[in-house]
Symmetry: C3
Subunit: 207 residues, 3 copies
């Protein structure tokens, strides 16, 4: 199994769990869990494949991804009540899924010989759009847009790190690993320490 | 006219009416009615065609679908006030549209020689995503995600029924008909008798 | 630079500004500004290119569009507080962006030799869907669906005007210019004078 395939499975698994956790907050049934889990897990990569005209879409080429998503949804359906705080679990799993998905999306775009700008964007889209679809469909405020948190920024920094390290060292695996780490560290730092960029205020203090 | 074409027109017509009913609840003008009607009627099939890289998209190949959607929107604009309860009408028409669209999507995927898993998914996507787009755009809670109702489940059961019957009897028309019936019966039973699967509860009772 | 390219840049620029203004209302950080700005600026054209199977997508073929969007977001981030009413600015800029994007989308579809119906629709999709995505993602009521305002109607009228004038005079540039003017005049008239079509009322007065 190639590195990119492995990353894709990992990202599908963890994002599916976050989708199922959101479904548990909306009190859906088992099929609803599977639906939101697959939308979250496959949404970002599907958009990436559509934009890059990659044919067939990754989960049509290999429906194992669907099986992973559905299985994750089932496990969460029967075990989510064991979690003390489903929302904390959701935030932290989402941070891991983001990091892995950014690396997977970056890797796919690199393997298709896209330009650096497009590679970075595909990393961001693969990482952010699945979670965005999950939140929009369920009617929650997208995590992507939480005020004063690093999210898109973390995805951007991770994808850019991967591109830069690859252009210096020429090693794909190392570059993707570094990109995932960078994304996760920034996102986790934002969750744990409250790291953030300055947000827009309608009347910023004079400098 | 082939069976699939007939199913597609029927699904476009009924979904367009539901879209127009939602537009009437949002008090839009005639063009807004046509916009939501076409989004609802064509959204699911468009996503299916994009995912399967079917070219051109069905309503670009044959814009009659658009004419059907726009006409339905106009009729609803001038007659919706005759309905006693627009919301009840919306729910029941939506159940018919779901059943027909699941059959149409399943039929299209079969005609493209997709695997059984992908066929079932395309049936579900064609059936559910148009209504989901309608509800998300208008800002209502998606019918797809109503608690304690069969919706995605009905679509799944119908598409799976069609695939199973086709593999046993080898008759496409019969398989699609059975799939539509299965979807509608489950959805209607959910609306009328309150059929549902167990939903997730944060602390399920001990068994 | 061709006329269509110029229209595309103009529409990306103005829509990006509206996206950044919406981001400022949601108090996002700089990367969030760039994200919403690019989603708004590129969303409608991306959907058009996906539907028409245009390959590659316009901003993948030429990432300068992204640079325009990101630059606009940055400028707005640092200057939006200078505006007296960001919401008024947003409405009026959005009207300009709509007019330019309708013309751009119409022009692209014409250059791909689509039928008149599809050309009009692509003008409407390019004009309306980016702003719709912006509003849905941020959780605001879509401008597209504001009651008692011309929006989709203005896009429709502009695209239809372009198609009609082109079929009479055979001049693309003139047709697109007329289409943009028609869209903007209707939209601006709606904003300034309150022009609107009759909206649906549950009990319309007897005639």
């Amino acid at each position: 199994m190639s590195l990119i395939t492995l990353l894709e499975y990992a990202s599908v698994l963890v994002f599916a769990i976050t989708g199922a956790l959101v479904a548990s907050r909306a009190q859906l049934d088992l099929v609803g869990f599977a639906f939101i889990a697959c939308l979250t897990a496959l949404g970002g990569g599907t958009l990436r494949d559509l934009l890059l005209d990659r044919n067939p879409i990754f989960w049509i080429a290999n429906p194992t991804h669907l099986a992973v998503g559905v299985t994750a949804a089932m496990v969460v359906f029967f075990t989510a009540h064991l979690l003390e705080s489903r929302y904390r679990a959701l935030l932290w799993l989402d941070s891991v899924a983001l990091a892995v998905a950014v690396a997977a999306g970056t890797g796919v775009a690199i393997s298709l010989d896209q330009s650096a700008v497009v590679v970075v964007l595909m990393g961001m889209i693969t990482g952010c759009m699945g979670g965005l679809m999950r939140d929009v469909v369920v009617g929650e405020v997208p995590l992507v847009l939480q005020q004063g948190e690093l999210y898109v920024t973390a995805a951007f920094a991770g994808a850019a790190t991967a591109v830069i390290i690859r252009s210096i060292l020429g090693d794909d695996a190392l570059a993707l690993f570094a990109g995932a780490c960078m994304t996760w560290i920034l996102r986790a730092g934002s969750l744990y320490f409250g790291w953030h960029l300055p947000v827009y205020k309608s009347r910023p203090p004079r400098v």
